[in-house]
Protein backbone atom coordinates (compact mmCIF):
# COMPACT_ATOMS: atom_id res chain seq x y z
CA UNK A 1 0.00 0.00 0.00
CA UNK A 2 2.87 2.36 0.74
CA UNK A 3 3.95 2.19 -2.89
CA UNK A 4 0.62 3.45 -4.13
CA UNK A 5 1.08 6.74 -2.28
CA UNK A 6 4.82 7.03 -2.16
CA UNK A 7 5.04 8.70 -5.54
CA UNK A 8 2.93 11.55 -4.18
CA UNK A 9 5.92 12.69 -2.09
CA UNK A 10 8.67 14.34 -4.15
CA UNK A 11 11.27 14.23 -1.39
CA UNK A 12 10.84 10.49 -0.88
CA UNK A 13 11.34 9.94 -4.59
CA UNK A 14 14.51 12.02 -4.79
CA UNK A 15 16.31 11.01 -1.57
CA UNK A 16 17.74 7.65 -0.71
CA UNK A 17 16.97 7.88 2.98
CA UNK A 18 14.67 5.78 5.14
CA UNK A 19 12.82 8.73 6.64
CA UNK A 20 11.64 7.51 10.04
CA UNK A 21 11.33 10.83 11.88
CA UNK A 22 7.72 11.50 11.01
CA UNK A 23 6.73 12.39 14.56
CA UNK A 24 9.11 15.36 14.29
CA UNK A 25 7.75 16.45 10.93
CA UNK A 26 6.11 14.59 8.06
CA UNK A 27 6.91 14.93 4.37
CA UNK A 28 4.50 16.83 2.14
CA UNK A 29 2.73 15.44 -0.92
CA UNK A 30 2.96 17.27 -4.25
CA UNK A 31 -0.67 18.45 -3.94
CA UNK A 32 0.24 20.46 -0.81
CA UNK A 33 3.27 22.05 -2.49
CA UNK A 34 1.09 22.84 -5.51
CA UNK A 35 -1.67 24.39 -3.42
CA UNK A 36 0.79 26.77 -1.72
CA UNK A 37 2.43 27.71 -5.01
CA UNK A 38 -0.92 28.14 -6.71
CA UNK A 39 -2.10 30.51 -3.98
CA UNK A 40 0.93 32.75 -4.50
CA UNK A 41 0.65 32.49 -8.29
CA UNK A 42 -3.02 33.25 -8.71
CA UNK A 43 -4.70 34.36 -5.49
CA UNK A 44 -2.11 36.29 -3.53
CA UNK A 45 -3.37 39.45 -1.84
CA UNK A 46 -3.75 40.39 1.81
CA UNK A 47 -6.90 38.53 2.89
CA UNK A 48 -9.75 39.95 4.96
CA UNK A 49 -9.18 43.60 4.12
CA UNK A 50 -9.03 44.39 0.39
CA UNK A 51 -12.25 45.16 -1.48
CA UNK A 52 -10.95 44.09 -4.89
CA UNK A 53 -11.43 40.65 -6.45
CA UNK A 54 -7.95 39.31 -5.70
CA UNK A 55 -8.22 40.03 -1.99
CA UNK A 56 -11.71 38.55 -1.94
CA UNK A 57 -10.34 35.40 -3.60
CA UNK A 58 -7.54 35.21 -1.03
CA UNK A 59 -10.06 35.65 1.78
CA UNK A 60 -12.22 32.92 0.34
CA UNK A 61 -9.30 30.50 0.02
CA UNK A 62 -8.28 31.24 3.61
CA UNK A 63 -11.78 30.83 5.01
CA UNK A 64 -12.32 27.64 2.99
CA UNK A 65 -9.23 26.27 4.72
CA UNK A 66 -10.76 27.14 8.07
CA UNK A 67 -13.92 25.25 7.10
CA UNK A 68 -11.80 22.24 6.08
CA UNK A 69 -10.13 22.27 9.52
CA UNK A 70 -13.53 22.57 11.22
CA UNK A 71 -14.70 19.50 9.38
CA UNK A 72 -11.39 17.68 10.09
CA UNK A 73 -11.87 18.24 13.85
CA UNK A 74 -15.69 17.96 13.69
CA UNK A 75 -16.05 21.28 15.49
CA UNK A 76 -19.46 22.90 15.74
CA UNK A 77 -18.51 26.19 14.12
CA UNK A 78 -15.63 27.57 12.07
CA UNK A 79 -15.59 30.49 14.53
CA UNK A 80 -13.97 28.00 16.90
CA UNK A 81 -10.98 27.45 14.58
CA UNK A 82 -8.05 29.83 15.10
CA UNK A 83 -5.04 29.66 12.80
CA UNK A 84 -1.68 29.92 14.57
CA UNK A 85 1.90 29.05 13.65
CA UNK A 86 1.92 25.66 15.36
CA UNK A 87 0.84 23.67 18.41
CA UNK A 88 3.23 25.58 20.65
CA UNK A 89 1.71 28.92 19.70
CA UNK A 90 -1.82 27.52 20.07
CA UNK A 91 -1.14 26.39 23.63
CA UNK A 92 0.61 29.64 24.48
CA UNK A 93 -2.48 31.47 23.26
CA UNK A 94 -4.61 29.51 25.73
CA UNK A 95 -2.09 29.98 28.53
CA UNK A 96 -1.65 33.73 28.11
CA UNK A 97 -5.27 34.52 27.33
CA UNK A 98 -7.38 31.99 29.22
CA UNK A 99 -4.79 30.93 31.78
CA UNK A 100 -3.66 34.32 33.05
CA UNK A 101 -7.25 35.62 33.22
CA UNK A 102 -8.81 32.59 34.92
CA UNK A 103 -6.15 31.18 37.23
CA UNK A 104 -5.51 32.80 40.61
CA UNK A 105 -3.17 32.31 43.52
CA UNK A 106 -3.99 29.08 45.33
CA UNK A 107 -5.53 27.47 42.23
CA UNK A 108 -4.07 24.37 40.60
CA UNK A 109 -3.11 23.45 37.07
CA UNK A 110 -2.84 19.72 36.39
CA UNK A 111 -0.66 18.40 33.55
CA UNK A 112 0.41 14.89 32.64
CA UNK A 113 4.02 13.81 33.01
CA UNK A 114 3.89 12.82 29.33
CA UNK A 115 3.70 16.35 27.98
CA UNK A 116 5.91 17.70 25.27
CA UNK A 117 7.56 20.85 26.63
CA UNK A 118 5.08 22.87 24.57
CA UNK A 119 2.22 21.75 26.81
CA UNK A 120 4.24 22.15 30.00
CA UNK A 121 6.24 25.38 29.88
CA UNK A 122 3.17 27.58 29.19
CA UNK A 123 1.57 26.17 32.35
CA UNK A 124 4.75 26.66 34.36
CA UNK A 125 4.55 30.29 33.23
CA UNK A 126 0.88 30.62 34.24
CA UNK A 127 1.57 29.15 37.67
CA UNK A 128 4.62 31.35 38.22
CA UNK A 129 2.76 34.51 37.26
CA UNK A 130 -0.44 33.77 39.19
CA UNK A 131 0.84 31.94 42.26
CA UNK A 132 -1.07 28.79 41.33
CA UNK A 133 0.56 25.40 41.78
CA UNK A 134 1.41 22.92 39.04
CA UNK A 135 0.57 19.27 39.68
CA UNK A 136 1.41 16.20 37.64
CA UNK A 137 -0.59 13.16 36.58
CA UNK A 138 1.99 10.37 36.44
CA UNK A 139 1.49 7.50 34.03
CA UNK A 140 2.22 3.84 34.65
CA UNK A 141 5.53 2.53 33.27
CA UNK A 142 3.79 1.36 30.08
CA UNK A 143 2.38 4.84 29.53
CA UNK A 144 -1.21 4.22 30.62
CA UNK A 145 -3.03 6.72 32.80
CA UNK A 146 -4.83 5.30 35.82
CA UNK A 147 -8.04 7.36 35.92
CA UNK A 148 -8.57 6.59 39.60
CA UNK A 149 -5.27 8.27 40.39
CA UNK A 150 -6.17 11.17 38.12
CA UNK A 151 -9.53 11.61 39.79
CA UNK A 152 -7.84 11.95 43.17
CA UNK A 153 -5.67 14.75 41.79
CA UNK A 154 -8.53 16.88 40.47
CA UNK A 155 -9.97 19.15 43.17
CA UNK A 156 -12.23 22.21 43.25
CA UNK A 157 -8.98 24.23 43.06
CA UNK A 158 -8.14 22.71 39.66
CA UNK A 159 -8.77 25.28 36.94
CA UNK A 160 -6.97 23.74 33.97
CA UNK A 161 -6.14 20.16 33.03
CA UNK A 162 -3.63 19.85 30.17
CA UNK A 163 -2.91 16.52 28.50
CA UNK A 164 -1.51 15.27 25.26
CA UNK A 165 -3.82 13.15 23.11
CA UNK A 166 -0.90 10.93 22.07
CA UNK A 167 2.52 11.02 23.73
CA UNK A 168 5.32 11.85 21.27
CA UNK A 169 7.54 9.33 23.10
CA UNK A 170 5.17 6.43 23.83
CA UNK A 171 2.63 6.81 21.03
CA UNK A 172 -0.22 5.69 23.23
CA UNK A 173 -3.68 7.30 22.95
CA UNK A 174 -4.77 8.91 26.21
CA UNK A 175 -8.37 8.70 27.51
CA UNK A 176 -9.30 12.28 26.64
CA UNK A 177 -13.05 11.88 26.91
CA UNK A 178 -12.73 10.50 30.45
CA UNK A 179 -10.28 13.24 31.42
CA UNK A 180 -12.73 15.83 30.08
CA UNK A 181 -15.51 14.39 32.25
CA UNK A 182 -13.31 14.50 35.35
CA UNK A 183 -12.12 18.03 34.59
CA UNK A 184 -15.61 19.34 33.89
CA UNK A 185 -17.03 17.83 37.03
CA UNK A 186 -14.55 19.95 39.01
CA UNK A 187 -15.28 23.04 36.92
CA UNK A 188 -11.92 22.93 35.12
CA UNK A 189 -11.24 23.14 31.38
CA UNK A 190 -9.31 20.52 29.41
CA UNK A 191 -6.52 21.56 27.03
CA UNK A 192 -5.48 18.83 24.58
CA UNK A 193 -2.22 18.70 22.60
CA UNK A 194 -3.21 16.96 19.38
CA UNK A 195 0.12 17.28 17.56
CA UNK A 196 0.73 13.51 17.54
CA UNK A 197 -2.86 12.30 17.28
CA UNK A 198 -4.06 14.28 14.24
CA UNK A 199 -1.65 12.47 11.84
CA UNK A 200 -2.85 9.03 12.97
CA UNK A 201 -6.41 8.89 14.30
CA UNK A 202 -9.69 10.63 13.48
CA UNK A 203 -10.45 13.45 15.92
CA UNK A 204 -13.89 14.63 16.99
CA UNK A 205 -13.49 17.50 19.45
CA UNK A 206 -17.18 17.41 20.38
CA UNK A 207 -17.13 13.68 21.12
CA UNK A 208 -13.88 14.12 23.08
CA UNK A 209 -15.51 17.06 24.87
CA UNK A 210 -12.20 18.95 24.79
CA UNK A 211 -12.35 22.66 25.61
CA UNK A 212 -9.18 23.47 23.67
CA UNK A 213 -7.41 21.30 21.11
CA UNK A 214 -4.16 22.24 19.35
CA UNK A 215 -2.29 20.74 16.41
CA UNK A 216 0.40 21.55 13.83
CA UNK A 217 -0.02 21.48 10.05
CA UNK A 218 3.46 20.13 9.36
CA UNK A 219 2.86 16.83 11.15
CA UNK A 220 -0.29 16.10 9.09
CA UNK A 221 1.53 16.46 5.76
CA UNK A 222 0.81 20.19 5.55
CA UNK A 223 3.24 23.13 5.50
CA UNK A 224 5.43 24.28 8.38
CA UNK A 225 4.32 27.53 10.00
CA UNK A 226 0.59 26.86 10.10
CA UNK A 227 -1.11 25.44 13.17
CA UNK A 228 -4.56 25.35 14.67
CA UNK A 229 -6.25 26.06 17.95
CA UNK A 230 -9.77 24.79 18.44
CA UNK A 231 -11.59 26.42 21.36
CA UNK A 232 -15.13 26.16 22.58
CA UNK A 233 -16.93 29.25 21.30
CA UNK A 234 -18.24 30.52 24.63
CA UNK A 235 -14.75 30.25 26.13
CA UNK A 236 -13.04 32.01 23.21
CA UNK A 237 -15.67 34.76 23.29
CA UNK A 238 -14.99 35.51 26.92
CA UNK A 239 -11.19 35.49 26.55
CA UNK A 240 -9.02 38.58 26.04
CA UNK A 241 -6.96 38.73 22.83
CA UNK A 242 -3.51 37.10 22.87
CA UNK A 243 -1.75 39.38 20.36
CA UNK A 244 -3.11 42.77 19.37
CA UNK A 245 -2.65 44.89 16.27
CA UNK A 246 -3.91 44.74 12.72
CA UNK A 247 -6.66 42.48 11.41
CA UNK A 248 -8.09 41.69 14.85
CA UNK A 249 -10.17 44.84 15.36
CA UNK A 250 -13.55 46.31 14.48
CA UNK A 251 -12.49 49.88 15.15
CA UNK A 252 -9.67 51.72 16.85
CA UNK A 253 -9.65 55.10 18.53
CA UNK A 254 -6.80 57.00 20.17
CA UNK A 255 -7.42 55.43 23.54
CA UNK A 256 -9.04 52.12 22.82
CA UNK A 257 -10.31 49.57 20.34
CA UNK A 258 -13.23 47.28 19.68
CA UNK A 259 -11.96 43.81 18.91
CA UNK A 260 -13.14 41.76 15.95
CA UNK A 261 -15.50 38.83 16.30
CA UNK A 262 -14.23 35.25 16.46
CA UNK A 263 -12.08 33.86 15.04
CA UNK A 264 -10.33 37.06 13.88
CA UNK A 265 -9.99 38.38 17.43
CA UNK A 266 -7.16 35.86 17.85
CA UNK A 267 -5.48 36.31 14.47
CA UNK A 268 -3.57 39.57 14.77
CA UNK A 269 -1.43 40.71 11.85
CA UNK A 270 -1.39 39.49 8.27
CA UNK A 271 -2.41 35.85 8.32
CA UNK A 272 -0.53 32.93 6.81
CA UNK A 273 -3.12 32.33 4.12
CA UNK A 274 -0.89 30.39 1.74
CA UNK A 275 0.03 27.76 4.30
CA UNK A 276 -3.58 27.56 5.50
CA UNK A 277 -4.44 26.72 1.90
CA UNK A 278 -1.63 24.13 1.96
CA UNK A 279 -3.09 22.65 5.14
CA UNK A 280 -6.47 22.48 3.42
CA UNK A 281 -4.87 20.42 0.64
CA UNK A 282 -3.18 18.19 3.22
CA UNK A 283 -6.48 17.52 5.00
CA UNK A 284 -8.13 16.66 1.67
CA UNK A 285 -5.22 14.35 0.92
CA UNK A 286 -5.48 12.57 4.29
CA UNK A 287 -9.23 12.19 3.80
CA UNK A 288 -8.72 10.72 0.33
CA UNK A 289 -6.58 7.94 1.83
CA UNK A 290 -8.49 7.54 5.05
CA UNK A 291 -7.22 6.87 8.56
CA UNK A 292 -8.18 3.20 8.34
CA UNK A 293 -5.82 2.53 5.45
CA UNK A 294 -3.06 4.66 6.99
CA UNK A 295 -3.45 2.91 10.34
CA UNK A 296 -3.23 -0.55 8.72
CA UNK A 297 0.09 0.20 7.06
CA UNK A 298 1.52 1.91 10.16
CA UNK A 299 0.56 -0.99 12.41
CA UNK A 300 1.94 -3.59 9.95
CA UNK A 301 5.30 -1.79 9.87
CA UNK A 302 5.34 -1.25 13.63
CA UNK A 303 4.57 -4.94 14.20
CA UNK A 304 7.42 -6.00 11.90
CA UNK A 305 9.84 -3.70 13.74
CA UNK A 306 8.70 -4.64 17.26
CA UNK A 307 8.70 -8.38 16.50
CA UNK A 308 12.28 -8.17 15.26
CA UNK A 309 13.43 -5.98 18.16
CA UNK A 310 11.86 -8.49 20.53
CA UNK A 311 14.51 -10.95 19.33
CA UNK A 312 17.35 -8.52 20.04
CA UNK A 313 18.39 -9.00 23.67
CA UNK A 314 19.98 -5.58 24.15
CA UNK A 315 17.25 -3.48 22.54
CA UNK A 316 14.24 -2.27 24.52
CA UNK A 317 11.07 -0.52 23.32
CA UNK A 318 9.24 1.93 25.60
CA UNK A 319 5.46 1.87 26.02
CA UNK A 320 2.90 -0.74 25.10
CA UNK A 321 3.83 -4.25 23.96
CA UNK A 322 1.10 -4.01 21.31
CA UNK A 323 2.12 -2.48 17.97
CA UNK A 324 -1.38 -1.07 17.46
CA UNK A 325 -0.93 1.10 20.57
CA UNK A 326 2.03 3.09 19.24
CA UNK A 327 0.72 5.41 16.51
CA UNK A 328 3.84 4.44 14.56
CA UNK A 329 6.18 5.69 17.32
CA UNK A 330 8.91 3.25 18.38
CA UNK A 331 11.08 4.74 21.11
CA UNK A 332 13.92 2.46 22.09
CA UNK A 333 17.20 2.10 23.93
CA UNK A 334 20.20 -0.11 23.23
CA UNK A 335 22.23 -1.30 26.23
CA UNK A 336 25.58 0.46 26.37
CA UNK A 337 25.03 2.61 23.29
CA UNK A 338 24.11 6.26 23.78
CA UNK A 339 21.16 7.39 21.63
CA UNK A 340 23.26 10.02 19.88
CA UNK A 341 25.66 7.32 18.77
CA UNK A 342 22.70 5.17 17.69
CA UNK A 343 21.37 8.02 15.59
CA UNK A 344 24.81 8.76 14.12
CA UNK A 345 25.41 5.17 13.07
CA UNK A 346 21.88 4.82 11.67
CA UNK A 347 22.38 8.04 9.73
CA UNK A 348 25.51 6.60 8.14
CA UNK A 349 23.34 3.66 7.02
CA UNK A 350 20.80 6.03 5.49
CA UNK A 351 18.21 5.86 8.26
CA UNK A 352 16.85 9.09 9.74
CA UNK A 353 15.61 8.82 13.33
CA UNK A 354 15.51 11.12 16.33
CA UNK A 355 17.71 10.84 19.42
CA UNK A 356 17.58 12.69 22.70
CA UNK A 357 14.83 13.68 25.10
CA UNK A 358 12.23 14.44 22.41
CA UNK A 359 11.25 17.68 24.18
CA UNK A 360 9.75 15.56 26.96
CA UNK A 361 12.50 15.68 29.60
CA UNK A 362 10.23 15.20 32.65
CA UNK A 363 8.73 12.03 31.12
CA UNK A 364 12.13 10.54 30.28
CA UNK A 365 13.45 11.40 33.73
CA UNK A 366 10.35 9.75 35.24
CA UNK A 367 10.84 6.62 33.10
CA UNK A 368 14.56 6.72 34.05
CA UNK A 369 15.76 6.94 30.45
CA UNK A 370 17.29 10.44 30.20
CA UNK A 371 17.86 9.91 26.50
CA UNK A 372 16.35 7.53 23.95
CA UNK A 373 16.23 6.88 20.22
CA UNK A 374 12.93 7.17 18.36
CA UNK A 375 11.87 5.81 14.99
CA UNK A 376 8.47 7.12 13.93
CA UNK A 377 6.59 5.69 10.97
CA UNK A 378 4.11 7.08 8.51
CA UNK A 379 1.79 5.30 6.09
CA UNK A 380 4.16 6.02 3.18
CA UNK A 381 7.05 4.12 4.73
CA UNK A 382 8.04 0.82 3.13
CA UNK A 383 8.88 -2.51 4.66
CA UNK A 384 12.35 -2.24 3.10
CA UNK A 385 12.91 0.94 5.13
CA UNK A 386 11.98 -0.86 8.34
CA UNK A 387 14.37 -3.66 7.33
CA UNK A 388 17.13 -1.12 6.84
CA UNK A 389 16.40 0.24 10.33
CA UNK A 390 16.48 -3.25 11.84
CA UNK A 391 19.67 -4.27 10.02
CA UNK A 392 21.37 -1.16 11.34
CA UNK A 393 20.11 -1.58 14.92
CA UNK A 394 21.25 -5.21 14.97
CA UNK A 395 24.86 -4.20 14.23
CA UNK A 396 25.05 -1.27 16.68
CA UNK A 397 26.72 -2.97 19.60
CA UNK A 398 29.27 -4.72 17.45
CA UNK A 399 30.20 -1.46 15.77
CA UNK A 400 30.58 0.19 19.18
CA UNK A 401 33.17 -2.37 20.19
CA UNK A 402 31.08 -4.90 22.13
CA UNK A 403 31.97 -7.80 19.86
CA UNK A 404 29.41 -10.06 18.20
Amino acid sequence: MAHAYRDDFPLLKSQDVAYLDNAATAQRPQCVLDAVTEFYKSQNANPLRGLYPLSIAATEAYENAREAVRSFLKAKSSREIIFTRNTTESINLVAYSYGLSHVKAGDEVLVSIMEHHSNLLPWQMVCRQTGASLKFMECEMDGTLDLNKVEALITPKTKIVACTHVSNVLGRVNPIRELAALAHRAGAVLVVDGAQSTPHIPVDVQALDADFFAFSGHKVYGPMGIGVLYGREELLNAMPPFLTGGEMIESVARDGAVFAELPHKFEAGTVNAADAVGLHAAIDYVKSIGFTAMHQQEVALTRRAMDAIDEMPHVHVLGSEKPEEHCGIITFTVDGVHPHDISEILASDGVAIRAGHHCAQPLLAYLKHPSTARASLAFYNKESEVERLLDSISTLRERMGYGK
Binding site: H340, E344, I345, A347, S348, D349, S371, R399, G401
Partner: protein, 145 residues
Protein backbone atom coordinates in the same frame (compact mmCIF):
# COMPACT_ATOMS: atom_id res chain seq x y z
CA UNK B 1 30.56 2.32 5.59
CA UNK B 2 31.91 5.77 6.36
CA UNK B 3 31.04 5.52 10.00
CA UNK B 4 33.18 2.45 10.58
CA UNK B 5 36.15 4.74 10.28
CA UNK B 6 34.58 7.33 12.55
CA UNK B 7 33.63 5.02 15.41
CA UNK B 8 37.14 3.62 15.22
CA UNK B 9 38.85 1.35 17.67
CA UNK B 10 40.48 4.17 19.61
CA UNK B 11 37.16 5.89 20.17
CA UNK B 12 35.17 2.78 21.09
CA UNK B 13 37.96 1.50 23.33
CA UNK B 14 38.14 4.73 25.33
CA UNK B 15 34.34 4.75 25.55
CA UNK B 16 34.01 1.17 26.76
CA UNK B 17 37.10 1.03 28.95
CA UNK B 18 37.93 4.55 30.04
CA UNK B 19 41.10 4.85 32.09
CA UNK B 20 40.21 8.12 33.79
CA UNK B 21 36.47 7.72 34.43
CA UNK B 22 36.42 7.49 38.21
CA UNK B 23 36.20 9.68 41.26
CA UNK B 24 39.14 11.76 42.46
CA UNK B 25 38.39 12.50 46.11
CA UNK B 26 41.34 14.84 46.68
CA UNK B 27 40.77 16.95 43.56
CA UNK B 28 41.55 20.66 43.85
CA UNK B 29 39.21 21.64 41.04
CA UNK B 30 35.85 20.08 40.18
CA UNK B 31 33.91 21.57 37.30
CA UNK B 32 30.74 20.39 35.57
CA UNK B 33 30.49 20.53 31.80
CA UNK B 34 27.10 20.12 30.13
CA UNK B 35 25.70 19.97 26.63
CA UNK B 36 22.08 20.83 27.43
CA UNK B 37 20.71 19.91 24.02
CA UNK B 38 21.93 16.32 24.09
CA UNK B 39 22.40 15.63 27.78
CA UNK B 40 26.16 15.04 27.86
CA UNK B 41 27.10 15.82 31.43
CA UNK B 42 30.54 15.37 32.96
CA UNK B 43 32.37 16.45 36.08
CA UNK B 44 36.02 17.09 35.42
CA UNK B 45 38.27 16.67 38.46
CA UNK B 46 41.83 17.93 38.59
CA UNK B 47 44.59 17.75 41.17
CA UNK B 48 47.24 20.41 40.81
CA UNK B 49 50.81 20.55 41.96
CA UNK B 50 51.82 24.14 41.38
CA UNK B 51 51.67 24.66 37.63
CA UNK B 52 51.42 20.97 36.89
CA UNK B 53 48.27 18.86 36.52
CA UNK B 54 49.29 16.10 38.91
CA UNK B 55 46.21 13.95 38.42
CA UNK B 56 42.83 14.08 36.73
CA UNK B 57 39.61 12.13 36.29
CA UNK B 58 36.01 12.53 35.17
CA UNK B 59 32.61 11.11 36.00
CA UNK B 60 29.31 11.51 34.22
CA UNK B 61 27.21 10.38 31.28
CA UNK B 62 27.08 11.05 27.61
CA UNK B 63 27.59 9.74 24.13
CA UNK B 64 30.66 7.78 23.09
CA UNK B 65 32.21 10.87 21.50
CA UNK B 66 32.01 13.00 24.64
CA UNK B 67 33.16 10.22 26.96
CA UNK B 68 36.02 8.97 24.78
CA UNK B 69 37.21 12.51 24.07
CA UNK B 70 37.33 13.36 27.78
CA UNK B 71 39.21 10.13 28.54
CA UNK B 72 41.74 10.72 25.77
CA UNK B 73 42.21 14.30 26.93
CA UNK B 74 43.02 13.27 30.48
CA UNK B 75 45.56 10.76 29.21
CA UNK B 76 47.30 13.61 27.44
CA UNK B 77 47.23 16.31 30.11
CA UNK B 78 47.97 14.47 33.35
CA UNK B 79 51.58 15.25 34.28
CA UNK B 80 51.69 18.27 31.97
CA UNK B 81 51.96 21.95 32.81
CA UNK B 82 48.70 23.89 32.77
CA UNK B 83 49.84 26.10 29.91
CA UNK B 84 50.82 23.08 27.81
CA UNK B 85 47.42 21.48 28.44
CA UNK B 86 45.70 24.68 27.34
CA UNK B 87 47.84 24.77 24.21
CA UNK B 88 46.79 21.21 23.37
CA UNK B 89 43.19 22.27 23.85
CA UNK B 90 43.66 25.08 21.35
CA UNK B 91 45.11 22.72 18.77
CA UNK B 92 42.29 20.26 19.40
CA UNK B 93 39.73 22.99 18.77
CA UNK B 94 41.55 23.97 15.58
CA UNK B 95 41.44 20.35 14.44
CA UNK B 96 37.70 20.10 15.16
CA UNK B 97 37.17 23.30 13.19
CA UNK B 98 39.13 21.82 10.30
CA UNK B 99 41.89 24.43 10.60
CA UNK B 100 44.81 22.48 12.06
CA UNK B 101 47.89 21.51 10.04
CA UNK B 102 48.92 17.86 9.69
CA UNK B 103 51.81 18.49 12.09
CA UNK B 104 49.47 19.94 14.66
CA UNK B 105 47.07 17.00 14.29
CA UNK B 106 49.99 14.58 14.71
CA UNK B 107 50.97 16.36 17.90
CA UNK B 108 47.57 15.44 19.38
CA UNK B 109 48.44 11.75 19.28
CA UNK B 110 45.36 9.71 20.24
CA UNK B 111 43.07 12.74 20.16
CA UNK B 112 43.68 12.89 16.42
CA UNK B 113 41.36 9.87 16.21
CA UNK B 114 38.57 12.43 16.49
CA UNK B 115 39.68 14.50 13.48
CA UNK B 116 36.66 13.41 11.40
CA UNK B 117 34.39 15.35 13.75
CA UNK B 118 35.38 18.35 11.64
CA UNK B 119 32.89 17.00 9.07
CA UNK B 120 30.16 16.30 11.60
CA UNK B 121 28.83 19.64 12.85
CA UNK B 122 26.18 18.01 15.08
CA UNK B 123 28.86 16.24 17.12
CA UNK B 124 31.39 19.03 17.59
CA UNK B 125 30.04 19.98 20.99
CA UNK B 126 30.33 16.36 22.15
CA UNK B 127 33.99 16.18 21.16
CA UNK B 128 34.98 19.48 22.75
CA UNK B 129 33.03 19.09 26.02
CA UNK B 130 36.02 17.81 28.00
CA UNK B 131 38.44 20.33 26.53
CA UNK B 132 36.03 23.22 27.01
CA UNK B 133 35.50 22.23 30.63
CA UNK B 134 39.28 21.92 31.11
CA UNK B 135 39.85 25.43 29.79
CA UNK B 136 37.20 26.85 32.12
CA UNK B 137 38.61 24.89 35.03
CA UNK B 138 42.17 26.09 34.47
CA UNK B 139 41.39 29.71 33.64
CA UNK B 140 38.55 30.40 36.08
CA UNK B 141 39.28 27.70 38.60
CA UNK B 142 42.28 29.32 40.28
CA UNK B 143 40.24 30.85 43.05
CA UNK B 144 38.46 27.55 43.62
CA UNK B 145 41.66 25.67 44.23
Amino acid sequence: MENRSFYNEILTEHNLHPEFKHDLPDADIVLEGVNPSCGDDIFLKLKLDGDVIADGAFVGDGCAVSQASADIMLGMIVGKKKEDALKMGEIFLKMIQGEASEDEIDSLEEASALRDIAHMPARVKCAVLGWRTLKEALLDGDELS
